[in-house]
């Protein structure tokens, strides 16, 4: 691109539109975080459910895997931030929402462990839906918007579902809210990366 090339008014407007679109179309989301959390929550839900079915309640400790994944999440986030060549105002807002989600989940897990309230699964599903819907809404990313709504619909359904089947809703929620959107993001990221080579 040259500097002093004369521009007509139409060309100026076309250039502005083109550059704004170029910034918008730069897919920086690798989808790795979504895939990781989608897989972990799915795995924990399946093992926890099978533990209940077989009477091996020791398997419920699989949920500690979530704590083990937190340092991994920090490493992934730090690496992505280092690699990213630009930041948007949206990034700050999204970071705040997901950190709030992480803290809320940890606090609610503690509350659940200590007081064992009824319908804890329903509460977890409601909390899962909040950052997922917010991300889908802010980024205009339909799969996460649908995932967030699915979490809330599952929360409603869970109020009418007997235990232990309610445990299966965690699997569906993790797939719809994170794993499937993660796969879509990953596909878009790899496609964009291939296009840039």
């Amino acid at each position: 691109m040259q500097d002093e090339q004369p521009l007509s008014e139409q060309e100026s407007l076309a250039l502005i539109t083109q550059m704004i679109n170029k910034a918008k179309c730069d897919y920086a989301e690798t989808g790795v975080e979504c895939l990781m959390w989608g897989s972990i929550i799915t795995l924990c839900s399946i093992i926890s459910y099978s533990g209940y079915l077989t009477g091996n309640l020791y398997l419920d400790n699989i949920w500690y895997l979530v704590f083990a994944a937190i340092p991994l999440q920090i490493i992934i986030s730090a690496r992505q931030a280092r690699r990213k060549k630009y930041t948007t105002y949206n990034d700050d807002a999204m970071g705040g929402i997901w950190i709030s989600f992480g803290i809320s989940i940890l606090l609610f897990s503690f509350y659940d462990h200590k007081f064992q309230p009824p319908s804890a699964n329903t509460m977890f599903l409601i909390i899962y839906g909040i950052p997922t819907f917010a991300t889908g809404f802010a980024r205009r990313f339909k799969p996460m918007l649908i995932g967030g709504i699915a979490c809330w619909l599952l929360a409603i359904a869970s109020a009418f579902t007997p235990f232990p089947y309610i445990m299966l809703y965690g699997i569906i929620a993790a797939q719809l809210a994170w794993f499937i959107p993660g796969l879509i993001l990953r596909g878009k990221y790899l496609k964009a990366k291939k296009g840039n080579v």
Binding site: M1, Q2, D3, E4, Q5, L7, E9, Q10, S12, L13, L15, I16, Q18, M19, I20, K22, A23, K24, D26, R82, K85, Y86, T87, T88, Y89, D91, D92
Partner: protein, 98 residues
């Protein structure tokens, strides 16, 4: 009476840089270079002109032991860009009515 188009913005590369920076919070020099397909030398000169006009801020720091330049648009830059787009629209309206 038409407003004169801002000569700082009414150039291909500077306008491209401002259009990119208006869409993000901040961007690295390499990102701007990649998106505008400009040479590093030419881009440096135009970034300096925008900085001197007070339209962007340029921060030079080290990232992973390498020098890294980051640019972000200032409030004056946002105002100038908005006025430039408004002026363009005025010109285009008149062009369509002729």
């Amino acid at each position: 009476m038409f407003k004169e188009l801002d000569p700082i913005l009414h150039s291909q590369l500077r306008l491209a840089v401002m259009s990119l920076l208006i869409s993000v919070k901040e961007a690295e020099f390499t990102f701007i270079k990649e998106k505008t397909n400009a040479t590093a030398g030419n881009l440096s000169v135009q970034v300096q002109k925008l900085k001197e006009a007070g339209y962007i801020d340029v921060v030079k720091e080290f990232k992973d032991n390498y020098p890294n330049t980051t640019c972000h648009i200032t409030q004056a830059g946002i105002k100038a860009f908005e006025e430039y787009v408004k002026a363009l629209q005025e010109y285009l309206k008149v062009g369509q009515n002729k």
